[in-house]
């Protein structure tokens, strides 16, 4: 299982869970499993057309998935997936 890190911005939708282990061999599968567990987070990650929202970046082991195979990027056991939202507080 890979590790998924949830930013505080969205931990509201994951019962304050900020780090979790999820099954899945691709980024898409990992997020499908996340949405099964916590349905209300989905609209913050995915837009109404089913695409990753443009103010969200998803990284696997420090690399942006847009520079890999996007949501088909393979995921292995030890991988760490990070959600990076655009926040504006100062």
């Amino acid at each position: 299982m890979a590790t998924l890190k949830i930013p505080t911005l969205y931990s509201h939708y994951t019962d304050k869970n900020k780090e979790m282990q999820l099954d899945g061999t691709t980024i898409r599968q990992v997020f499908e499993n996340l949405f099964l567990l916590y349905p209300t987070i989905q609209k913050h990650i995915i837009d109404p057309n089913g695409k990753q929202r443009r103010h969200i970046n998803i990284f696997i082991n420090k690399i942006n998935i847009v520079d890999l195979q996007k949501d088909e990027t393979p995921v292995n056991q030890q991988d760490v997936i990070t959600i990076l939202p655009n926040i504006s507080g100062g």
Binding site: K5, P7, T8, L9, H12, Y13, K18, E19, T40, H44, R53, R54, H55, N57, F59, K62, I63, N64, D67, T82, L84, P85, N86, I87, S88, G89, G90
Partner: protein, 385 residues
């Protein structure tokens, strides 16, 4: 902006002795700091520590851009200001504190919002920009200004317990737009004034921004270019991720189509901006609401704040459904009545109003200014927060 930079005098050599003892800085480095200039956008949470440390370090010219005044709710984190400077202009309050800390520096105070109209005039001539703003529109503006001027933009942003830090420098690496081509849809991401922030968090991130600015000026170490640092205060973790230049970037890519400053409020769909409340047709004022509540059939009051906020202030008779739960709890809301939505300041309740309207509700009004405005205009026993 001062153009002649006399060598460090006897007092300055004593003042900066702990710097002069570091081989990577020395007299030469300290003179570089004195000759340098940094523009700080915002003198709030991030700007406070950044400004203090840049001043103490002897950065010769520091520009401060802010149009706000010091408010009591700032002092939980904006440590450059104080109780004695409440209601003063933030730029004046900050400038006086910085000159007290170090009278050898020169400060340009710009008491104005940073906009497309004034940004190039203000920023031209500075070596480094530090982005310490609190809204998306000004962040995109700061980025684009830095790209057009070819200078680095030291980026920091915060929410509750999380911080982000990077150095965006399009000449040699990615820019803010490479990472975030678009802001979030208005209302989807709360600001600190809606969502809150741990007071020391901007202290940490703002201090790191000052560190990066000083490294850039001195040309030492590895600047955080092409990298972004993620800080989580709860787990006390610092993670770094790698950023690449985006070939499709609209401002720094090979096919860039943004070649001059644009209308950033329009770009960001402005209701998310903190300081510019807009009037909407379906707004209701606290005084109008007070009258309605005396009707034989008073409206339904829907409080969309989070449950822990009810302990701070509340309006009698209101039902509470947190904004993000509203779409899932429609059956709790009587659609045959007039419905008045409210939150702390009117932003979240507007979001809830739009989602109810989408669900077919028609008799909706939003309490302008939220319960804080109500506390000022109607119920003065309620605290502001």
């Amino acid at each position: 902006m001062p153009t002649d930079h006399p060598p460090l005098n006897r007092d300055e050599i004593l003042r900066y002795s702990r710097h002069l003892l570091i081989p990577e800085i020395g007299i030469g480095g300290q003179q570089k700091l004195k000759n340098s200039s940094v523009l700080l956008i915002g003198t709030g949470g991030l700007g406070s520590p950044a400004a203090l440390y840049l001043a103490a370090a002897g950065v010769g010219t520091i520009g401060l851009v802010d149009f706000d005044i010091v408010d009591e709710s700032n002092l939980q984190r904006q440590v450059i200001h104080g109780t004695s400077t409440l209601n003063q202009l933030k730029v004046d309050s900050a400038k006086n504190r910085m000159l007290d800390l170090n009278p050898n520096i020169f400060i340009n105070a710009y008491n104005e919002p940073f906009t497309s109209e004034n940004a190039m005039r203000i920023a031209t001539g500075y070596d480094v920009i530090i982005d310490g703003t609190d809204n998306f529109a000004t962040r995109y503006l700061s980025n684009d200004v830095a790209v057009f001027l070819g200078i680095p933009n030291v980026y920091g942003s915060i929410f509750r317990f999380d911080g982000q830090l990077s150095v965006f420098h399009a000449k040699v690496g990615p820019c803010y737009r490479c990472l975030f081509p678009e802001p979030p849809p208005a209302g989807l991401v709360p600001s600190c004034s809606d969502g809150g922030v741990l007071g020391v968090l901007p202290g940490i991130i703002g201090t790191l921004q000052a560190t990066e600015a000083i490294k850039l000026i001195l040309g030492i170490g590895e600047p955080l270019i092409g990298k972004l640092m993620l800080f989580d205060a709860l787990s006390m973790s610092f993670d770094q991720i790698t950023l690449k230049k985006n070939p499709d970037c609209r401002v720094c890519g090979p096919k860039a189509d943004i070649t001059e400053l644009i209308d950033y409020n329009e770009f960001c769909g402005v209701p998310g901006v903190d300081h510019k409340p807009e009037a909407f047709e379906d707004d209701i004022t606290p005084l109008q609401l007070k009258d309605l509540l005396t009707n034989p059939v008073p409206p339904l009051l829907l409080d969309v704040r989070e449950p822990h906020e009810l302990a701070i202030s509340s309006i009698t008779g209101a039902i509470n459904i947190p904004v993000d739960q509203v779409p899932y709890e429609l059956e709790k809301i009587d659609r045959s009545r007039d419905i008045i939505l409210f939150c702390k300041s009117g932003t979240r309740s507007r979001r809830a109003l739009y989602s109810l309207r989408t669900a077919g509700f028609t008799r909706l009004k939003n309490l302008a200014g939220g319960i804080n405005r109500w506390a000022i205009d109607v119920d003065r026993d309620l605290p502001l927060y």
